[in-house]
Amino acid sequence: MTMKKFLASTVAASALALMLGMTSARAEDAMDPNAKQGGEIIATYKDDVTTLDPAIGYDWQNWSMIKSLFDGLMDYEPGTTNLKPDLAESYEISPDGKTFTFKLRHGVKFHNGREMTADDVKYSLDRVTNPKTQSPGAGFFGSIKGYDDVAAGKAETLSGVTVVDPYTVKFELTRPDATFLHVMAINFSHVVPKEEVEKYGADFGKHPVGTGAFKLAEWTLGQRIVFERNPDYWHKGLPHLDKITFEVGQEPIVALLRLQKGEIDLPLDGIPPAKFQEVMADPEQKARVVEGGQLHTGYVTMNTTMAPFDNVKVRQAVNMALNKARIIQIINGRAVPANQPLPPSMPGYDKEYKGYPYDVAKAKALLAEAGHPDGFETQLFAMNTDPNPRIAQAIQQDLAAIGIKASIQSLAQANVIAAGGDKAGAPMIWSGGMGWIADFPDPSNFYGPILGCAGAVPGGWNWSWYCNKDLDAKAAEADSIVDPAKSGERSKMWSDIYAKIMADAPWAPVFNEQRFTMKSARMGGADNLYVDPVHVPINYDNVYVKDVQ
């Protein structure tokens, strides 16, 4: 039997890009020719940063910071969702899609000066999957051989990860996993040095040491975090900035005032809703706002195990009752209407799919067919922070128009999540504030936990309690297509899965939020760096300032 190997190396990138149907241009080639070296910027956040440990950090605030301090085997081309090798120089995938072999770059150094090798890769994965680490991302590594034993505390090390030589590491999987390269790009798989982790123990998150473009220079709790350029960064020419100071504890409204006075460069909590129209009405300020999509969908779940939502007609009626354009007005038009679970910038999004039209008469007719000509009473759960209660009220009014009397249960986030994870907890939930934002840009990421059977368990995130075994099988089939050349076929399969889900209508998709990043006039770099779909909220490594020599 001949072993057909898929090879993506940076050396032969251009030739293979065609053959494999994937773009693997070197990031070095894509660097902005106008970029300037040096300079310092100030960014602000409202909340203190929780942790910079890649095994632990899982919020939109530390996500991109961790990506700048650490690296994974894979990453994405800046500002895009295109995978590229990062700490890996190249990788091979076996034809059965179950073995991934990565060749590492030589000479990559941790911030403490030691060279990174394959042992560190293995250590980092053993650490993140070890239950003692309590990583919220451990579940992403479920396809690696030996994961179950490590998760159960029966083994200390993943049997499926082998150090072949200092610059080669091999992963054996229990099933073909098309998302595995993405998994090797998420923060949880980023490489950490064992000696530093052991030195700081549970406080490693406050003393992060990685291989990334920046290193941590200072962290004064509750005040500021300072990143300094890593002069030994393996990726020559990056980062552009010498220093980033993150000032924390700054209310968005205060941050905006400071930006207007030229004191700061990036108010990273965004434009406060109350100021949005004012900013956008001022051409000078509007010019410094970058708009971009994000891998987010806001939706209403309907508990398919609870009457009357166990009737598909009722769920379809709800889908037709929602006036999404009006709901979007509530958030100052900072979103686009959604008609399917996947957001538009996600591979697998079906542009042709029309979704359910806004049609009150048809919705009423469907309700009548379902045996509820006069509607019914139900509850709509929503998170209690603005604008979610207002959005819930708009949904309530739309439902009232077809006779459904929904009372709003406006609760703290954790309580809504708890109600959703309880089978008899919540008939309807507006997902705002908790809506799904993808962990990585792959269509499968919107399925398993929120629409698949695996998530329809107590404490799970499938708040519709929708479980379609056929679709689960189809999803598994799609994810076993590892060959990058067949990625189009795989995307199509996922489009079909989501179309079938929409026929069953466990959700009423409402909108996909847009991101609006504001920056100072001195900030340079392509717009897509400021709304990077993966390095959320912005790509710190690649932006620069224009006022340095």
């Binding site: 632990i56 239950p131 451990a138 709790l221 504890g249 700054q250 006075k261 708890a418």
Partner: protein, 306 residues
């Protein structure tokens, strides 16, 4: 005195114990599952159970509370669920900022409140008196969030006299102290006014006036020291009000104190931090009250500790 102190200390400890029990119970009863939060949305049921066991959250309530108390006695407030750092370290790192803000606020409220009250009492019944009392009323009733933003807008954004939020120099301290102080200043102005009016009616003041002493000498040498004492004794009790205020004021001004820490922890249901900050605040309030009671007899010999 010693017996009194001993009794008050035991009372204080009981209050703290009660606060810890009630807070712990309330947080326990929250429907939110902290383990789910730690484990993340992609966790398997097994991971969730592992973490629950490691944190001892599978134990019955009373056992969990007991474990917490045992650790508390040795000064261990546990580790934050979200940040994973020691709660003690998080609180200690933020206490100086909160204390500094509190000192600034006390100075502001005394300076503003006492002078307003004094002037109002002297000019009793005039337009000045009425204006000052309306102002004090506004100060007491204005929400701190609004006052803070207003001060920021006028003095930092428009006039650029002070920085727009942040921490570090005395200039950073002025606006947040003022915001916190204005509330208390309103109370102090009213108390000072009535206390002063009271004193001015006393016989010894009348005697002083009869002796032909200058007006200034009467007010500053004879009346003020007597009028000010009962007002000063209120500072200890103020600490309770400050503890509520710092949550708002620190958030508006980006002041890195424990109020901000508490607010962020509440939003994330980070139970160990919420517990820790609640206990520290309760401790501060109990201590403030205790000090106020102990100082009172020194200020006013008519009060005896029993």
């Amino acid at each position: 005195m010693i017996a009194y102190l001993g009794r008050r200390l035991i009372q204080s400890l009981l209050i703290l114990l009660g606060v810890s029990l009630i807070t712990f119970a309330l947080l326990y009863l929250l429907p939110a599952d902290p383990v789910r939060q730690i484990a993340g949305r992609s966790a398997t049921p097994q991971t969730v159970e592992n973490i629950r066991q490691q944190l001892g959250l599978d134990q019955p309530f009373i056992v969990q509370y007991w474990h917490y108390l045992v650790k508390l006695v040795s000064g261990d407030l546990g580790r934050s669920y979200i940040q994973r750092s020691e709660v003690t370290e998080l609180i200690v790192s933020r206490l100086p900022a909160s204390l500094l803000l509190m000192v600034g606020a006390i100075l502001c409220e005394l300076l503003i409140g006492l002078s307003m009250g004094l002037i109002a009492a002297i000019k009793r019944g005039t337009a000045t008196d009425q204006t000052l009392m309306v102002a004090s009323f506004v100060g007491v009733s204005a929400p701190q969030f609004v006052v803070g933003l207003l001060l920021l807008y006028v003095f930092a954004v428009r006039l650029s006299w002070f920085p727009i939020g942040g921490y570090g120099t005395w200039r950073h301290l002025v606006l947040p102290s003022l915001t916190m102080g204005i509330l208390g200043a309103g109370w102090y102005a009213r108390m000072m006014r009535s206390s002063m009016i009271d004193v001015l009616r006393q016989d010894y003041v009348r005697t002083a006036r009869a002796k032909g002493l200058a007006r200034g000498a009467i007010i500053f040498r004879h009346a003020l020291p007597n009028a000010i004492l009962p007002v000063i004794a209120m500072i200890g009790i103020d600490i309770g009000i400050f503890m509520g205020g710092i949550v708002v004021v620190e958030s508006v001004f980006g002041w890195p104190g424990i109020g901000q820490l508490a607010w962020q922890a509440i939003q994330r249901v980070d139970i160990p931090i919420i517990m820790g900050v609640t206990l520290v605040s309760a401790f501060a309030i109990v201590l403030g009250n205790l000090l106020a009671d102990i100082i009172a007899p020194f200020i006013d010999p008519r009060i005896k500790l029993r």
